[in-house]
Symmetry: C2
Subunit: 321 residues, 2 copies
């Protein structure tokens, strides 16, 4: 029997020019292309002459089972997802089905995952630079995830000042989840926190709306929307949503010189070592410090007890100065 | 004066085949290509005959200033980043410099951001399907971010069971941050939680290591590594790291039938509406419920007080069943 292959292809946003060369080649190489109808339509020009299996949104496991079935016959199968195949995409369900069927990587069926820009990357590119600092992706769909799990993540992300991308924010049956998300965020973020809602990024029906945390639930949001919520430093200027990286923590923005006590290419004075030193010098109890910094008291105690000394002798580049 | 242009190009992982068509076209279209030396080397074949400005890691603002300078002369400039230009990339610093210089989108200088697959997408594609559920990206670099901010995010992500991608996990000068991250995670996750460390994804020196939360600090980690930490359900099987989407919450895995009380295409019985109903029926106080579900008491109170009724009448697709 010839060797079959399953290729999990991330299309990126859905316009042909934003697909990777490898994604196009994988579809070209395939005997069978399987995907949600909308995604098949996005690559219509590439699938001519191939077996095409169109599935509805809710048939992820079916898609994976069909892919395995074809691959067992020695076929090459492209399972296509918009965005990245790994981010809430087909890669997970496919491995679950493959493992269930006893598949191993050294079997006759090869599996390749072809990464793509996911919705958070492409939506961010259209609204400015909201993801310049730490961010989370949270799906508001409770079809497979209990709500308390989702709510805890929303609360944690809001409290610790992540930029957040909400996937599957709303559907015909799920209108209240976005309201609950807003409620959890408003407990920690200003009502005027910038929010961008991007629908069908880089596709003909693309729609971008800027709003605020306070008003976001009033906006038009659907299953093809991604909602980006800024952190406490995110701003909108000239129609662009930008999260600063933090240069102002180290440099005087006007003159470009480093602030007192800071050094280019070095950790901030409030970086790990400087911070630990300030804790030691404060004379405060671990409980007081934990309250002040909103960190677990056990963590403060353990970090202070650990006298591992930082090796400051070697020099190496750093992504951000 | 002719119109200048700044194109913020995300290269993806760095192999030519994983670049998007638009990223290649943008570099081809450019008069000047500016980037960190390593990234310039990745696209060496595309930059022949162009002005090339190589910068070191720590010169992001300089790169943006040089780009603006060229664009003012009517040049087209490609500012290249590996991964996605928006994720800890050049998009943020560039807008900061542009705004500082008084630039507006209707000025003579056009700005385009070209999204790419970021390190978390490409590293995930190489290790299996770790990002099938909610995830965070956290940079461990304290060069521009105070450590307590980073620590609070690590703690929050660990406590609320996100899959986490650590960017800039370690450098010659910063060896202890990864140990502190591990400490914060071990307070919430099992010591055997799967961890993957991916270096130079899709490049000649690619290196993948599977380890566990307990042992990750002993691994070889550097500035070109991304560290992926699984959530409480993530497993490694046959050398693949997979985070389940949650089908087992709804379906019997053997037979494929839905579990008692669950319906295909509908929210889980523990989804928002079912959960709220169970809270109302429990007869417990908001304080007891808050403790049980590890959610703020204010949230429990507000959600119960809100008698917005879910509209269950319309039907629409959902990404996950």
């Amino acid at each position: 029997m010839s060797t079959g292959k399953i290729m999990l292809v991330g299309l990126g946003p859905g316009s042909v020019e934003h697909m990777s060369g490898r994604a196009r080649a994988a579809i070209a190489e395939a005997d069978t292309v399987i995907g949600y109808v909308t995604y098949i339509r996005l690559v219509a020009d590439l699938v001519e002459g191939k077996e095409v299996v169109k599935k509805s949104m809710t048939e992820e496991l079916d898609r994976a089972i069909e892919a395995l079935d074809r691959a067992k016959q020695g076929k090459k199968v492209a399972l296509i997802s918009s965005g990245d195949a790994g981010v809430y995409g087909m890669a997970g369900p496919t491995f679950e089905v493959l493992f269930q069927a006893g598949w191993t990587p050294d079997s006759d069926i090869e599996v390749e995952i072809i990464p793509g820009a996911s919705a958070l990357n492409t939506c961010a590119a259209l609204v400015g630079a909201p993801l310049t600092h730490d961010f989370c992706a949270i799906s508001l769909s409770d079809l497979l995830t209990p709500w308390p799990v989702i709510a805890r993540r929303l609360h944690a992300a809001a409290a610790s000042d992540f930029v957040v991308a909400l996937y599957n924010p709303k559907s015909g049956r799920r209108a209240r989840q976005i309201v609950e998300a807003q409620r959890l965020f408003l407990a920690h973020r200003r009502p005027d926190t910038p929010v961008a809602i991007v629908k069908s990024a880089y596709r003909p029906k693309q729609r971008i709306e800027f709003t605020t945390l306070e008003k976001m639930a009033e906006s038009e949001i659907g299953m093809l929307s991604t909602v980006l919520i800024g952190n406490s430093n995110t701003f909108v200027r000239n129609g662009l949503m930008v999260t600063p990286r933090g240069y102002a923590n180290k440099y005087d923005v006007e003159s470009g010189t480093t602030r007192d006590g800071e050094k280019a290419g070095r950790s901030l004075s409030t970086g790990l070592n400087g911070w630990l030193e300030s804790l030691r010098e404060s004379g405060e109890s671990a409980e007081e410090l934990a309250r002040r910094y909103a960190l677990p008291v056990d963590y403060i105690t353990a970090a202070l007890a650990d006298d591992a000394v930082e090796d400051d002798a070697t020099a190496e580049g750093e992504t951000f100065a």
